[in-house]
């Protein structure tokens, strides 16, 4: 494999990591909706932290190696319409998912607060935070953008 092939393969590996990270995060988000105690929230957050790292690595690797690939391969250019569309969608996905991390940090903070107060039983407030509609909406928006990027990359409209 040539240097260009390696960069391309790494780009696709980070893309798979990114989408895999989103799948992982959805599993946790769905599980969180049934969590009503501080313990359950904290234990699911341990898994969510790994998902966050996977998503961030995927986001950074995909964009950096993708642009690098487009520069290295003569038949690809970052200013092609489908490439620009992918970069814009990447920006939307990154902004939405990073903002959703803030939303999902709120139940974590609440769970720690409850435990510090000696309350370990079910909490309505914690349940509501775990079922955050803002977080769900942002995660949905980010996921939709990622799905559109995958479609854009495969169909390459205008290429």
């Amino acid at each position: 494999m040539s240097y260009v092939d390696w960069i391309f393969a790494l780009h696709l590996l980070t893309a798979a990591t990114l989408v895999g990270g989103f799948v992982m995060s959805w599993i946790v988000v769905v599980a969180l909706r049934t969590a009503n105690t501080p313990d359950a929230t904290l234990s699911l957050n341990r898994v969510a932290r790994v998902g966050t790292v996977v998503i961030v690595v995927g986001l950074l690797g995909t964009i950096a190696l993708g642009i690098w690939t487009a520069i290295l391969r003569p038949e690809l250019h970052p200013w092609h319409g489908w490439a620009i569309a992918a970069i814009v969608l990447w920006g939307i996905a990154a902004a939405a998912v990073l903002r959703s991390f803030v939303e999902y940090a709120k139940p974590l903070a609440k769970a720690r607060e409850l435990i510090a107060s000696g309350l370990t039983g079910p909490s309505d407030e914690l349940t509501a935070l775990n079922r955050t509609s803002t977080g769900l909406l942002l995660r949905g928006l980010a996921s939709a953008a990622i799905v559109l990027i995958v479609i854009d990359m495969i169909y390459k409209p205008g290429a």
């Binding site: 040539s2 799948v23 690939t69 990359m153 495969i154």
Partner: protein, 256 residues
Amino acid sequence: MLAAIRPAGQDFPVLLHIVGATIVFGALLASATSLALARGEIRLLRLGYFSLLFVALPGMALMWGAGQWIYHKQGWNKLPSNVKDVDWLTIGFVVGDYGGLFFIAALIVGGIGILRLRNGKSDGGLLKLTMVMALVLAVAYVVAVWAMTGKPTGASAAPAPGPGANAPTTTAVSVAATEFRFTLSKQSVPHGKVVFTLSNKGKIPHDFSIDGKTSTIVSPGKTTTLTVRLGAGKFLYLCTVPGHAQAGMKGTLIVR
């Protein structure tokens, strides 16, 4: 830049294949992480197992089915019996087929572990084994993604340039593809970097492969480039679309 430009009609199965594969990969990561971080907590043990059962399993079915669809659509099933599948495809099959069996074994082991938990026999050993199996599968999927995208091939048998060879240069070669022959603008080039510009002047998709490097598949009327560094020697070039090389789309390029 997820995938190369390919003939119309193959995009949708490729999309399904990729979506299925990433669902499996994400679910394996979620499962392995949940089982690894469970510390005996039933909630996380169950999450780890059910990620495999309800997310990874449908993803695997989608990935496998779409993979078979692509395999038949691209005509790999019609290769002559004496022609072996390319390396990257073999890696994909090993991970898809044997990995699938391994995955079912992980589901069975994990299922027994979950049943034992439900019956109050708090033995997390089987679920730890499931976690290890999920991790092994996740690593196998990384290898498969690398193989499918990098499309590694065997090393070239072409000799290296001799000690007295001139300094490498860059040479442009135009390649016109029709049914079923290539016409190259040069039959002999100096060693060094060679940029092949493939123009499909035929009616069906073609690609151009030389020294283990293969261009994207080009639709009729389209053009692509393939840059290869070649040492002195004789190099076989061909179209890797099944049946095309046998029909005449092959030849030898002399590199001085």
